[in-house]
């Protein structure tokens, strides 16, 4: 657990960046309705192209820079035609979880402990990867916290991703790695596969995994579905499927669902044809979804010398968190 940092004992200038230039506090200081950020700088559960250990730092820097160049007062969004004002104290950055290389259990428990505390407090954990395995411990802590806060509540799950990540094992990496995270999440006690939805899956997938998901009621929207049905409609259907009998949603954002031509800085690239605009439309379609927790994973700055990947990913956070960081300006 990170040591408590409060405004009273914080340094004059906190070193480094925090997500959205938010304050740095301990997880125990985050309160109801706030976004609690947990960094997961781990990529040793990825099987090939590494670098996502630098993802949390890159997202913190990119969101801070983008925040600084956005209007600080009331602003008009030409896309939606709406005016909004920034909200104060909507997000707290809780720093990074302790990563123990070569000890997946220790890392898992360190991440889960932070997201559990946040969830119990009624805050919304936002976990920054790291490779996609880290989504499992983030969701594990959310699941445990939800059981404590609302024991009878079940949650739905949406994973935007180029891959299913539903393998039971992956070669030499065993059962806990970036190809098994969704499978491990499906084994949590308060989620059912019939409430799990994958969006943006591209190319060739393992037939056995696909069959297992669909036999148990899970739903998959391919990248082609996004192109044919439209991003917003796909996400409307995905949300409806995921939320059947559920009160909250856990959202896992794997940036690699976007076509690698736009976003090359990720470990397992795909050519989905999904554009940044389509990806953002999908996230905006979740504007009113009952988010209980979320993560964004697979940002690998060393794999994209242009740095555009981390800024595209940062924009994803701006979109999905729009309703938390702004409030509408109502007509007088």
């Amino acid at each position: 657990m990170t040591a408590a940092l409060t405004p009273l004992n914080a340094p004059l200038i906190q070193p480094g960046y925090r997500l959205f230039d938010g304050p740095l506090h301990d997880v125990s200081d985050v309160t109801l309705g706030q976004i609690g950020v947990v960094g997961m700088p781990s990529d040793w559960t990825h099987s090939s192209r590494l670098g996502t250990r630098f993802g949390p730092a890159a997202l913190r820097k990119a969101t801070t820079i983008m925040q600084s160049i956005r209007p600080q007062d009331a602003s008009f969004d030409p896309d939606t035609g709406l005016c909004s004002l920034p909200v104060a104290n909507w997000l707290v950055d809780c720093g990074d979880a302790e990563v123990t290389a070569q000890d997946v259990n220790a890392t898992t428990e360190a991440i889960a402990a932070m997201t559990e505390v946040l969830t119990v407090a009624g805050a919304i954990p936002l976990a920054l990867g790291g490779d996609h395995y880290n989504s499992f411990p983030a969701c594990l802590g959310y699941s445990r916290g939800l059981i404590k806060r609302k024991p009878a509540t079940r949650f739905g799950y949406i994973q935007i991703d180029g891959h299913l990540d539903f393998s039971d094992r992956l070669g030499a990496w065993g059962s806990h790695n970036h190809a098994t995270n969704a499978r491990r999440i499906s084994e949590l006690p308060n989620v059912d596969i019939s409430n799990m939805v994958w969006v943006g899956i591209a190319g060739w997938v393992d037939g056995g995994d696909l069959e297992l998901i669909e036999k148990q009621g899970g739903r998959i929207f391919s990248a082609s579905d996004v192109h044919k049905l439209g991003a917003a409609e796909v996400m409307r259907q995905a949300l409806a499927h995921a939320m059947r009998g559920c009160d909250e949603l856990y959202l896992s954002i794997d940036i690699d669902a976007m076509d690698a031509g736009y976003l090359p800085g990720t470990g397992s690239i795909v050519h989905s044809g999904i554009t940044p605009r389509q990806y953002y439309d999908m996230l905006e379609a979740l504007a009113t979804a009952p988010l209980g927790g979320l993560d964004i994973v697979e940002v690998s700055p060393p794999l994209d010398p242009s740095e555009r990947t981390e800024f595209l990913a940062a924009e994803m956070l701006f979109r999905i968190l729009h309703r938390f960081r702004t409030r509408p300006v109502t007509a007088q």
Binding site: R49, W173, W204, V205, D206, G207, G261, H271, D304
Partner: protein
């Protein structure tokens, strides 16, 4: 060489195209797909690096070597919901390695001889370039072939240019694939095998920054895949991949170009080997080269 029974990490083990078994030319049989690397480049080209493409293509192809990974069941094309069985792929796909280095004339002789030997055995050469300056050498080795081009520099008048079209007024992205397929059918002489030139520049530039000939417009992956699947149903003596520069300045870590090419090429391989239900009429080929 039998398949491994244990999982192998992607970056480990002997590097071959899609984990194919290594063979010598004398072991190639009719109906095989024989991979051949040409790690050479035109030294007068504006950028250096295309000679690294064969290795880059092999490295990225390992991701698609499901048949050699016992933990996977069978691949499904999630977009088309189309399932294939890759049984037999290991027996019919082989990697012959790279042409050895030497003086230009020696290299050209080796390329020509090897290409002819593969064709004479009734196999299809899957050639990993390299610069496209050796494409004409391959073409000369297969004088009875019809040449069709996906990307790259314009071919000869008798060739079929799938894309780009020489007509500057045509927007490739809006290209009417159905109309082009009809034109291709009219052009095609089925008594002759095909030589397919597949250059990275066929794709629109937004999909890959690793091409030395960036093109505004260009095709998307779906169109190229559709064409390669179609071409795979014909008798093909050789398909040659060119145009990839995996080490364009500052872009050495970005693997997009090779991934794009191999993703599309998979459609050709599956169609050529008759693995797809949608192409049940895949022909076995008999080579047509001068004796």
């Amino acid at each position: 060489m039998p398949l491994r029974s244990d999982p192998l990490p992607r970056m480990a083990g002997h590097l071959s195209f899609m984990r194919a078994q290594s063979k010598e030319i004398r072991q190639v049989r009719a109906g095989d797909l024989a991979v051949l690397g040409l790690p050479f480049e035109d030294t007068s080209a504006p950028y250096a690096g295309q000679s690294l493409a064969p290795r880059a293509l092999r490295e990225t192809s390992v991701y698609f070597g499901w048949h050699a990974n016992p933990q996977f069941s069978h691949p499904v094309d999630i977009d088309a919901r189309h399932e294939i069985r890759t049984d037999g792929l290991h027996e019919r796909l082989c990697d012959l390695g790279d042409i050895t280095k030497g003086h230009d004339e020696e290299i050209q002789t080796r390329v020509k001889t090897t290409t002819q030997q593969i064709s004479q055995r009734g196999a299809c050469a899957l050639i990993l370039g390299g610069g496209d300056h050796l494409a004409e050498t391959v073409e000369r080795a297969l004088p009875n072939c019809q040449t069709t081009l996906l990307g790259g520099a314009p071919g000869k008048p008798q060739d079929f240019q799938i894309a780009p079209l020489c007509d500057d007024t045509t927007d490739i992205y809006e290209l009417d694939t159905s109309a082009r397929l009809i034109a291709f059918s009219k052009w095609r002489d089925k008594s002759k095998p095909l030589f397919v030139r597949f250059d990275l520049s066929v794709f629109k530039t937004s999909l890959s920054a690793l091409c030395d000939q960036p093109r505004l417009g260009g095709c998307d992956l779906e169109i190229v895949t559709q064409w390669l699947a179609t071409l795979g149903r014909h008798e093909v003596s050789a398909i040659m991949l060119t145009g990839l520069n995996p080490s364009r300045p500052g872009m050495g870590i970005v693997k997009v170009g090779q991934r794009l090419m191999v993703t599309a090429l998979l459609a050709f391989i599956y169609a050529r080997l008759g693995f797809t239900n949608v192409h049940p009429d895949c022909q076995t080929f008999k080579e047509n080269v001068p004796k």
